[in-house]
């Protein structure tokens, strides 16, 4: 057994999930099985492999003109202010709002 009950409780706390005792046992078994399967990644030697940090493809093979030769990162826009007047609409979605704030239970006791 790879995953213990304590592991499940620790992870649930990190993830802000309040699990029932049944869920703790269910996830312990299922996570154990899934992580066992994922263990097959250990078969590969990745000591000389760089992690894939960027998915957006800008490498060789894409037409140079298409990628905007003049600008290294054509995807990036200028950092200029634009009006964004959705505050009311967003607060209207809130479970509890006191304009212009979201209300939450008291955080600091004194």
């Amino acid at each position: 057994m790879k995953i213990t009950r304590e592991d499940v409780l620790r992870v649930a706390e990190l993830a802000h999930l309040e699990l029932t005792p049944e869920e703790v046992e269910l996830y312990r078994g299922q996570l154990d099985e899934i992580l066992n399967y994922i263990g097959k990644l250990e078969q590969l030697d990745v000591s000389k492999v760089e992690p894939m940090a960027q998915v957006l493809f800008t490498g060789a093979g894409a037409p140079a003109a298409a990628l905007g030769a003049a600008k290294e990162h054509p995807e990036l826009r200028d950092d200029t202010l634009r009006p964004c007047d959705v505050a009311d609409a967003i607060l209207a979605q809130a479970p509890e709002a006191a304009k212009p704030f979201f209300r939450v239970p008291k955080v600091i006791d004194r």
Partner: protein, 481 residues
């Protein structure tokens, strides 16, 4: 099959131009169909008739003025519920967003409406797009219109079922590990995952940001291309959308396919592949050869590691993305004695079992002491899987595989075993991890009448080539092979 008239985008256009039907009448016809079929299919979660009829009236006004119609004028379209629609409830198939009404439209939605499309409503899906059968929706499973006791695939099962049942002419889905292509295969319709960065994700409610993509379902490949032409392209609101020009897909698909090199990776035809699916896909490849393509055997040695890699990368990103559901700004709030207590109770009540499972797995993989062993290692294997693709595309123009190892399975068949469910995505997650485009096209049916999907992968931004092969395949009778 089920639809009295199988409308196509071209068919809608000519009917409108000939004044055989108005856009309003057409929308009404589709709502009538939905009313009749949706109770058994459960494909739609919300309908937006006010918005649809207002848009239809705008299209009819353009016609009345004798002006040229935009490319998708009057075309009834369905939208997966993870895509934001202003003023129309968007739940992501989750209780935690049961009453959420987005204050803005996703860019893909803006573009569809600017092109004249009529948004019928929102389609059912696995909660936060996490699943392969649409059984993880908090609002009930979707049934496959081809065979009602089977799943439509997932996670975009509602969109696939809606198009396959003739309840929409086209639909948007999202694909993170196969969630467009696999339901497309199970329901017997074309379904495309574009290149990562080809379609803006602005307004797509995030599951795994380095994998999520919006793409179309349609009744045929030409319609798939027509929707792609509208939704593709750079968007300043999504810095991961690419500034790569969008070709004229309608012209691309007509190009001849003679001489194209199609790679067939042996790694996709091994253990676990259903014999009937294998026979159909082999017959599909033979058809492409008869059409003049050259078959090139390939090895893509890291294919077998893709599911393990995917379930680390995707869940790690999900655990981070879904941290936002805490009862503060939107969605469900369950009161608690403290702020943390409120977060915990809200998330416990609001999320379903699969979402919790993935948040737990992702949190574990990112937690102190395990990051190098799981997340970092998975990101390195992801590089190897991407390299399998870039190496292959040195030798071939496209890669042909089955879309899924089996046809649609029965409702309830895999719900008790998450790992078995994950393995339904074994042939689709590879392209998701690599960032390349892929399409599933109908490739015959099993003896039981269940559709089989043939998957075509292309190199980055080669949607035109992928659609071109799919179009030729369809025209040559691939669906009836």
């Amino acid at each position: 099959m089920t639809a009295a008239t199988n409308w196509t985008i071209a068919g809608v256009r000519s009917a409108l131009e000939a004044r055989r039907i108005s856009a309003r009448e057409l929308a009404k016809e589709f709502y009538t169909r939905i009313e009749r079929r949706n109770p058994e299919l459960n494909a739609f979660l919300a309908l937006s008739p006010d918005r649809a009829y207002a848009q239809a009236d705008r299209v009819d006004a353009v016609l009345a003025r004798g002006e040229a119609l935009p490319p998708l004028a009057g075309v009834p379209i369905a939208i997966k519920d993870v895509i934001s629609t202003r003023g129309v409830r968007s739940t992501c198939g989750s209780k935690i967003l049961e009453n959420y009404v987005p204050p803005y439209d996703a860019t893909a939605i803006e573009r569809l409406e600017a092109a004249g499309a009529v948004l019928l409503g929102k389609t059912n899906c696995d909660e936060f797009a996490m699943g392969s059968s649409t059984e993880n929706s908090a609002y009930g499973a979707v049934r496959n219109p081809v065979s009602l006791d089977r799943v439509p695939g997932g996670s975009s099962g509602g969109s696939a079922a809606a198009v396959a049942a003739g309840l929409a002419v086209a639909a948007l889905g999202t694909d993170t590990g196969g969630s467009i292509r696999q339901p497309g295969a199970y329901c017997g319709i074309p379904a495309m995952m574009p290149t990562y960065g080809r379609v803006s994700r602005y307004g797509l409610i995030a599951f795994a940001s380095s994998l999520d993509r919006i793409g179309p379902f349609a009744g045929n490949v030409a319609d798939t291309a027509a929707v792609m032409a509208v939704i593709a392209g750079h968007d300043p609101n999504d810095s991961t959308s690419a500034a790569v020009p969008v070709p004229d897909y309608a012209a691309e698909i007509e190009k001849p396919i003679q001489g194209l090199r199609i790679g067939v990776p042996e790694d996709y035809f091994g253990e676990g592949l259903d014999a009937e699916v294998k026979a159909k896909v082999e017959a599909g490849i033979a058809l492409l050869e008869r059409l003049g393509c050259r078959r090139i055997p390939l090895k893509m040695p890291h294919t077998d590691y893709a599911i393990a890699t995917y379930y680390i990368v995707a869940t790690a990103e999900a655990s981070s993305n879904l941290a936002r559901y805490d009862g503060v700004r939107y969605g469900l709030r369950v009161p608690g004695s403290t702020l943390i207590d409120m977060y915990r109770k809200t998330r416990e009540r609001g999320f379903g079992p699969e979402v919790k499972r993935r948040i737990m797995l992702g949190t574990y993989a990112l937690s102190a002491g395990y990051y190098d062993a799981y997340y970092l290692r998975a990101q390195k294997v992801r590089s190897l899987i991407a390299r399998d693709f870039s190496d292959a595309f040195q030798k071939v123009d496209a890669i042909i595989t089955p879309t899924a190892p089996t046809p649609a399975f029965r409702l309830g068949e895999k719900t008790a075993d998450p790992l078995q469910m994950y393995l339904a995505d074994i042939y689709t997650v590879t392209g998701s991890l690599a960032g390349v485009p892929g399409i599933s096209v109908p490739c015959g049916k099993t003896k039981a009448g269940l559709p089989v999907g043939l998957q075509i992968f292309g190199s980055h931004f080669s949607e035109g080539r992928v659609l071109q092969l799919a179009y030729a395949f369809e025209k040559a009778g691939g669906a009836a092979i």
